[in-house]
């Protein structure tokens, strides 16, 4: 934990703080159907053309049911399209490597994964996906799933900010505007910057390089062979990376994801990649505060997220800096901390920070191997995902996930001040509480239930490469990541089997659409309520006390559920490591 690391942390936090307000204001204009932005002149005609071609009346509002049906219909079509593209990839253009079709289960898993903004990858990108699959099948979802997440957050914001309203906005308008005004323009500039940092953007076949020293490798069929040359990935990488980060998607172009030099070549690109993960989620707290006419509350939510973020970074960073006591005992790598699975160009701090950021948000891109983290260092990503990725969180998903905790906190604290709980003037009644706890309950059941199944079934155990608590953490991580729509992995698990592909798909679908359905139901219910005036007797939803309350709500309601599994996995592993046993 060296001085310049602290400096970088401050720089990161400072930049995030600076981005929040301007981007938040911009987002507010975007999710307002007739909002004004400085890009109106350029994008406006395109936007109107899209509406005309698709027969959308941008100002016609939808109720919660219609909004939900639109979202689901759109998702279903996207799912089918992507599944088809992947399943029959070899018949499609832009496949210079001649990569074969994906198996049914892998194609389904991948289509679900990108549809749900998870970007869990049971495959290695460069050895599986053609350029067409990457650019059309996957990247399109990177944009639309991010836009859909923001759209759902927008409905909840509208529900809270409108009085006695039966409608929540128009899904198609939200989808189009967020994609056209936010994601596309930023990504164009961002991708150019990444090209400047050295990321390829081309359609060339993969390069081949002669190895300086031939290597003997053993394949899965137990045959050894000598390798003399290396295939080097090419393709439209920069454009993929931009949206992968900005849309908190996280699906890598290459298997090594952001650890690959072509995906994340420099410390500067690393810095901006982390920043772009948090940018929209952080800005949405400002948009939220603005639209509910309580900017202090927006900042309070920001502060609560920030507190949890910093706590996670510090624990993870410290654990990784402390390193592995067994290595130290043997006299290797005493001062370096735990560098296993990390890139030297990022080092301990930037790997720990990246791991925290990517799991706080529902990104899932990795610039180091989480599987190789120390047990406590690996606990932080697990914790972040299990609490629902609400620490800034996924684009849109982070905000609406966090608001579940905020509403529950308001409910309990509201009683504590002696009134029927009110949140931003909306009475919190049994329906709202029911939606919130149903989401938490079903997600917890999904993570724990599927992990339990995997932990005792032959299909589940077949994928394990490590035994004991570490193997347990790998399974737990996979389901936590998929239910949370994160997509990062404790890579030790061999997940490309039909059983894992289908159960993980189930986890991703529940984690995304069950939650969205309930959020929309709650948004509609809240929107129909009156807005009550506040008084000295009303619970104040800003300030330090309320920040503590949100943090407490996440830790007590969200994390208590996972204490036993976290103990059985990382914590036990930590103590065993201290005692000299590794897995």
């Amino acid at each position: 934990m060296r001085g310049h690391d602290w400096l970088q942390l401050m720089l990161f936090v400072g930049t995030l703080l600076l981005v929040t307000k301007p981007l938040g204001l911009y987002l507010q204009q975007v999710i307002t159907p007739n909002g004004k932005t400085f890009l109106d002149r350029i994008i406006g005609p395109l936007e109107r053309l899209t509406y005309r071609c698709c027969g959308i009346d941008p100002l016609r509002e939808q109720g919660r049911r219609e909004y939900g049906i639109s979202l689901l219909a759109f998702s279903l079509i996207g799912l089918a399209f992507t599944f088809a593209c992947l399943r029959w990839q070899s018949h499609l253009p832009l496949n210079p490597q001649g990569l074969p079709d994906l198996t049914t289960d892998l194609a389904f898993n991948t289509a679900v994964s990108f549809l749900t903004n998870t970007n869990w990858q049971s495959y290695g990108g460069e050895s599986t996906m053609s350029y067409f699959s990457q650019m059309v099948a996957l990247a399109s979802h990177n944009f639309t799933s991010a836009a859909a997440g923001i759209a759902v957050a927008a409905t909840l914001i509208r529900g809270l900010s409108r009085a006695s309203s039966q409608t929540l906005g128009n899904f198609w308008t939200d989808l189009v505007r967020v994609t056209y005004y936010v994601l596309l323009p930023i990504c164009v500039v961002y991708a150019l910057f990444l090209v400047g940092q050295g990321i390829p953007q081309n359609f060339k076949p993969y390069d081949t390089a002669q190895l300086v020293q031939a290597q003997m490798v053993t394949g899965t069929d137990n045959k050894s062979q000598e390798l003399k040359e290396q295939s080097i990935v090419q393709g439209p990488i920069a454009s993929q990376i931009a949206i992968k980060m900005l849309g908190t998607n996280g699906g890598g172009y290459a298997n090594a994801n952001a650890a690959h030099p072509y995906e994340n070549p420099t410390p500067l690109s690393n810095f901006f990649q982390m920043l772009s993960i948090f940018a929209i989620p952080a800005a949405l707290t400002y948009t939220f505060g603005r639209m509910v006419r309580n900017q202090k509350h927006g900042w309070t939510v920001w502060a609560a997220m920030f507190t949890l973020f910093i706590a996670g970074v510090l624990v993870c960073w410290r654990a990784e800096s402390a390193g592995n006591p067994i290595h130290q005992h043997l006299g290797v790598a005493i001062s370096d901390g735990n560098m296993e699975g990390k890139e030297t160009r990022f080092g301990i701090f930037n790997s720990a920070l990246f791991a925290t950021v990517t799991t706080d948000a529902s990104c899932g891109a990795v610039n180091a191997m989480h599987d190789s983290f120390t047990p406590l260092g690996g606990l932080i990503p697990l914790f972040n995902m299990q609490t629902g990725e609400v620490i800034f969180g996924g684009v849109g998903a982070g905000l609406y996930g966090m608001l579940i905790y905020v509403i529950l906190a308001v409910f309990i604290a509201g009683l504590m001040v002696g009134r029927t709980p009110e949140y931003l003037g909306k009475k919190i009644e049994s329906f709202d509480v029911k939606m919130c706890v149903m989401i938490l309950t079903v997600l917890a059941i999904c993570i724990l239930g599927l992990t339990a199944w995997a932990g005792v079934s032959k299909w589940g155990l077949a994928g394990l490469n490590n035994q004991g608590p570490h193997g347990f953490s790998e399974i737990l991580y996979a389901y936590s990541s998929c239910v949370g729509n994160n997509g990062s992995a404790f890579a030790g698990l061999t997940a490309n089997t039909p059983w894992y592909n289908y159960t993980l798909s189930l986890a991703m679908l529940v984690g995304r659409f069950f939650m969205i359905a309930l959020i929309l139901a709650m948004a509609g219910n809240l929107g129909a309520k009156k807005i009550l005036p506040s008084s000295a007797g009303t619970l104040q939803v800003h300030g330090i006390t309320f920040t503590i309350l949100i943090v407490g709500s996440v830790v007590l309601i969200g994390a208590l559920t996972f204490v036993p599994v976290l103990v059985l996995g990382p914590v036990v592993e930590h103590f065993l490591m201290t005692a000299g046993k590794l897995f």
Binding site: G418, K530, L560, F575, A579
Partner: protein, 670 residues
């Protein structure tokens, strides 16, 4: 008669112990998911007892403490019910075994038991007799001793027609005879309704209670899944978790503390209202009281004493104070109204000898009349009059002098009532009649304001007077020159703005407003119509009772929220007690996780279970009395309760479990 029930009333305790056993019936427990799961867990542990086990003593102890957890929760509920019943019984007792003279079809009277009276029966009650049931006076007037209900010893007048026609069963007629029409069947009076709310037969969950139950049920379900999957994780890790240990962890994690006390808290809120002689028609009304944003109060009788009093004499130019006082006294001698008497009292302070009408020979007294709008006396050729400025102006046949008019205007502006005094054709000066604000009100309204509640005064006075009184009493707003329909309109307006309105009223013309208000408190002395329209009845007929009702409503919600926070926060320590105990056998390396240094795995689990059970008993007094409520802003209340019940809820079980572990170890129980 002040009805207070001590916390440890032996009779209540005895019934409560019995009741808590009866309530073990699973059909009853099923209504409370948290305790139902606990009961099932207890049964699972009890089953383990019949398998060959080597640590039978440990399993037996855990099973018993789990059973106690359920029993303690039942006990809390029974205690609250018992106290409520005791409270209600003392009210009900008075009306049993009363006989009544009932009017039958041909007009004759027959003697029947009170229990046989039905709605719309007509009874006649004479001096010295008890009134057999709630009803309305249809004929006659009588003084009635209502001390059995209100504790107020001064008799009150009940008469047919008007706003003082309602009588309550169990009160005694002191003089005269009245004819009463019974307005409720036996068992359906206000008191009976209240008793049934306390006893649970008709008790329904309030909206907040339902929402909270959903939250608690969900937490229970989540922890159920945590425990069931833990069994599988044990299989993966080759750790065999015993059923007893898993059940112990489950029961410790689910919110048994609030789950066990939830209904007791609700009932206790009703009890506290009863203690203050308020009958609530539903639990919902009590809860709504906590949410009130605006209260409407009648000026007369609530904010001010019923009548104005003379506060000052202001002599006209050239008239000395002595002269004015004497003239005022003479003009008021015949005035028997409280205002008139207060003038005489004030005059005495100027050294005038007390006078009686008999003292003055040949004096002619002129009483107040609507035509002249003044009163006075003609004594030895001099005509003394007092009245409103325009009336006196007519009397003296000319303009009132400027200085007197100025005084009149000044008094009007400051909310008082000016009376001009004249002797023959000369205006002598002005009497300042002032509304007298009841004592202690200013502080009460300040407390309300701290809670964010606006108080609005309703008065028939002109806006000037109303503003002055509102200012003096510390009210936030007023409605002047109010007609009954204005009240209703005001309530509707506030409700449209999303505010909850409480009001207190007695008259028939208050009934629509009482029905419209979210919390409508009818005075017991009020009309039947008012009582039917409101959702609470104040037996003491004390208009400022509204403030206490609001505080009880708030206290009820605060107690629920605080104990929920406490219950959830407790889980942290329980994890630290039980999880290391469960795993240390297989992974000795995790011993440092046992930060409480509990003696052994068994003592750790047992201690956590004991703590979990005992905390319910320890919190019963808090649940019954309610969390201390200090009127202040929401932010301060939150900070305070978060510190005590949130932070305290994390710390307390660490200490408690450690302490119990020491005892358990010392006694060799595990």
């Amino acid at each position: 008669m002040k009805k207070t029930v001590t916390l440890l009333d032996p009779a209540i305790l005895k019934t409560a112990v019995l009741e808590s056993l009866i309530k073990l019936d699973p059909r009853r427990q099923f209504k409370n998911p948290v305790m139902f799961v606990t009961l099932i867990g207890t049964i699972l542990c009890a089953v383990e007892l019949f398998r060959p086990q080597h640590d039978l003593g440990y399993i037996l102890q855990v099973t018993l403490w789990l059973l106690f957890t359920v029993l303690f929760a039942n006990f809390a509920e029974s205690m609250a019910e018992g106290r409520g019943k005791a409270q209600a019984d003392s009210l009900r007792h008075s009306r049993q075994k009363i006989s009544a003279r009932k009017k039958v079809a041909n007009g004759d009277l027959t003697t029947v038991d009170a229990a046989q009276l039905r709605k719309n029966d007509v009874i006649v009650v004479g001096a010295g007799e008890l009134i057999a049931g709630d009803g309305e006076v249809v004929n006659g007037a009588a003084t009635v001793d209502e001390s059995a209900i209100t504790g107020e010893s001064a008799p009150v007048i009940r008469e047919a027609g008007g706003d003082r026609s309602a009588v309550t069963g169990g009160t005694r007629v002191l003089s005269d005879e009245i004819t009463v029409r019974i307005t409720a069947d036996p068992g359906e009076g206000f008191l009976d309704r209240m008793i049934s709310l306390v006893e649970g037969a008709r008790r329904q969950k309030t909206p907040n209670e339902i929402a909270l139950t959903i939250l608690l049920s969900a937490l229970t379900l989540i922890f159920l899944v945590v425990i069931i999957t833990l069994k599988f994780f044990g299989v993966y890790g080759s750790v065999a978790f015993s059923t007893v240990t898993l059940v112990a962890l489950l029961v410790c994690l689910i919110p048994t503390t609030i789950g066990g006390l939830l209904s007791a808290i609700g009932i206790a809120g009703m009890d506290r209202l009863l203690q203050r002689n308020v009958l609530a028609m539903s639990g919902r009304a009590v809860e709504a009281a906590g949410d009130v944003d605006v209260i409407l109060l009648d000026k007369t009788g609530t904010i001010t004493l019923g009548n104005r009093q003379a506060a000052e004499f202001i002599p006209a130019r050239g008239v000395d104070m002595q002269e004015l006082a004497a003239a005022s006294q003479l003009a008021s001698l015949a005035d028997e109204t409280p205002e008139g008497r207060s003038i005489v009292v004030l005059a005495k302070q100027f050294g005038l000898r007390g006078m009686d009408m008999g003292d003055l020979q040949g004096a002619v007294f002129i009483p107040f009349s609507a035509q002249t709008r003044m009163s006075g006396a003609d004594i030895s050729g001099r005509q003394y009059r007092k009245g409103s400025a325009p009336a006196i102006s007519d009397f003296i046949g000319g303009r009132i002098p400027n200085d007197v008019q100025a005084a009149v205007d000044r008094i009007s502006r400051s909310g008082g009532t000016p009376l001009v005094v004249a002797a023959n054709s000369k205006a002598m000066g002005v009497i300042y009649l002032k509304d007298v604000i009841k004592q202690g009100l200013v502080e009460r309204f300040a407390r309300l304001r701290a809670m964010g509640i606006r108080s609005v005064m309703i008065t028939g006075d002109n806006p000037l007077t109303a503003a002055a009184i509102a200012k003096e009493a510390g009210l936030d707003d007023f409605l002047a020159e109010a007609k009954p329909e204005d009240k209703l309109a005001l309530i509707r307006k506030e409700q449209q703005g999303g505010r909850l309105v409480a009001m207190i009223g007695d008259g028939t013309n208050d009934a629509p407003a009482l029905a419209q208000a979210d919390v409508g408190v009818a005075m017991n002395t009020g009309t039947q119509a008012a009582k039917e329209a409101g959702n609470m009845v104040d037996l003491d007929s004390n208009p400022t009772k509204l403030l206490e009702i609001i505080e009880i409503g708030k206290q009820l919600l605060i107690t629920r929220g605080s104990l929920t926070t406490f219950s959830i926060a407790n889980d942290v320590a329980k994890y630290f007690a039980i999880i290391p105990a469960m795993l240390v056998g297989v992974f000795p390396a995790i011993a440092p996780l046992n930060i409480m240094q509990l003696h052994s795995p068994q003592s750790a689990i047992l201690s956590a279970v004991i703590f979990n059970a005992i905390i319910i008993i320890l919190l019963i007094p808090l649940a019954l009395r309610g969390v201390k409520f200090v009127p202040m802003g929401a932010s301060l209340i939150l900070r305070r309760n978060l510190l005590i019940y949130g932070f305290g809820g994390i710390i307390a079980p660490f200490l408690g479990i450690k302490l119990i572990d020491l005892v358990v170890t010392a006694l060799g129980l595990a």
